[in-house]
């Protein structure tokens, strides 16, 4: 369980990091918090010839309040986002979701750029980015480009990132004031990767009806799933238990789960429906009241 020999370069700027990646022609790997990469190196599932450490890049460590969105630098630690009051106000789904990522000790080191680039289908952050239509900002030798979350996540641990590009920031649209958020995750033990997790952000209208809902699922496809049909079904409706149940069935319908040692595809689909219903009920606690009325 020791990494194979490799070279190590501490990047002095984003341009320097990109240059080293370009020179190594696909054999270089970016090192951020190391919480996924160092175990992969130790198990020798990953054997790059050179690591490019972004750890010294203060320029990627910021949270900025922009009009309409919040920009989070790639090297911001998950724990920093989780306890940021700016994020709690502007994007309340993020801290609630990040609390499910591993343990505090993991979140102290793991970065938002690392989790995004790693693209584990069971990871929380990619699903939140998908739910909120966030953009991923990346930089390569020919400059920067912005990729929507829908296009960024392409498959199991696979993204739209070229081998000589790095993630520099996430742009996450602000939620409307009063947006209700909830996360329901099923894992074997606290801190384990999700078997399935459902994420919801719901805006209510003036008379308590659902103005707009955003729902995504982790662990139920090779990429985070956006439950568009469920969102359409909910828009404009009163949050009655029947409506939430119907929407939860649509959420499960949007998934294309897989079999693995943690559960079968069929099982994942079933628990997606249950978790989606609980998630919507948690976001919309008025559901019981309107059913009693």
């Amino acid at each position: 369980m020791k990494p194979a020999p490799l070279d190590y370069i501490r990047a002095t700027s984003v341009a320097h990091a990109v240059q080293v990646l370009a020179e190594n022609d696909g054999d270089g790997k970016v090192l951020a918090g190391g919480q996924s990469l160092v175990p992969l190196l130790a198990m020798r599932l990953s054997q790059p010839t050179v690591l490019v450490d972004l750890g010294g890049l203060g320029e990627l460590s910021y949270i900025r309040d922009e009009s309409g969105h919040v920009e989070i630098g790639a090297m911001v630690r998950a724990r920093t986002v989780e306890i940021s009051s700016l994020i709690a106000d502007a994007v309340p789904l993020l801290p609630v979701a990040l609390r499910h990522v591993g343990h505090v000790t993991i979140r102290n080191r793991g970065t938002v750029g690392g989790s995004t680039a790693h693209a584990d289908p069971a990871a929380e952050l990619p699903a939140v980015l998908r739910a909120l239509d966030a953009d991923v900002v990346v930089t390569g030798p020919s400059g920067s480009r912005t990729i929507g979350a829908a296009d960024f996540f392409q498959g199991f641990l696979t993204t739209a990132l070229a081998p000589d590009e790095i993630v520099t920031a996430l742009r996450v649209p602000k939620s409307a004031p009063g947006t209700r958020v909830a996360v329901q995750e099923f894992a074997r033990r606290h801190g384990d990767f999700a078997i399935v997790a459902v994420f919801a952000a719901v805006e209510l209208g003036a008379s308590g009806e659902i103005a707009a809902a955003r729902i995504a699922v982790a662990g139920a496809d090779q990429v985070p799933v956006r439950a568009a049909a469920a969102e359409e079904l909910l828009a404009g409706q009163d949050p009655s238990p029947a409506v939430l149940r119907a929407a939860a069935a649509e959420v499960a319908g949007a998934t294309r789960p897989f079999d693995d040692i943690h559960g079968t595809a069929d099982y994942r689909k079933k628990i997606t429906a249950v978790l989606a219903r609980r998630c919507l009920e948690q976001a919309l606690p008025t559901a019981e009241r309107s059913s009693a009325a």
Partner: protein, 163 residues
Amino acid sequence: MTSLDVTMTVNGRTVTGRVEARRTLADFLRKDCAATGVHLGCEHGVCGACTVVLDGCTARSCCTLAVQADGAEVMTVEGLADGTDLHPLQEAFWARHGLQCGFCTPGILLTMRELLADNPDPSEEEIRESLSGNICRCTGYQFIVEAVKDAAAVLRASSADRG
């Protein structure tokens, strides 16, 4: 294959070493700094035995390369006691039988120290949630939870004394 010079503070002492890039912080602390209280169980981030404090926050030293800690301040379990005076957490683990073989203990002590700094009066559920990243094969956790509750009370009383 590169070797690099690293300098860091380990339990208040400045240490310098030349390490291969692939050397984990855990191996650097154990083999080059004789901090053998850093225990290695799984070497891939799941057992918590290798937990240290890196620049003020807990970190898995098996998931951190020594070169990433260049210039950092590191504390291991060896830095927890003040000379022969045990830290209140260590006292409570001793009094409450919060350890048997002791393999998990260094990581658990440092993780619980961070919990109590953030949350001086945690509920049992919060203690258990915070312990979830540290595997203990001996105690069944019950005595660990009781020890943490005791230590929390001692630490609250001593910070109230200091006013």
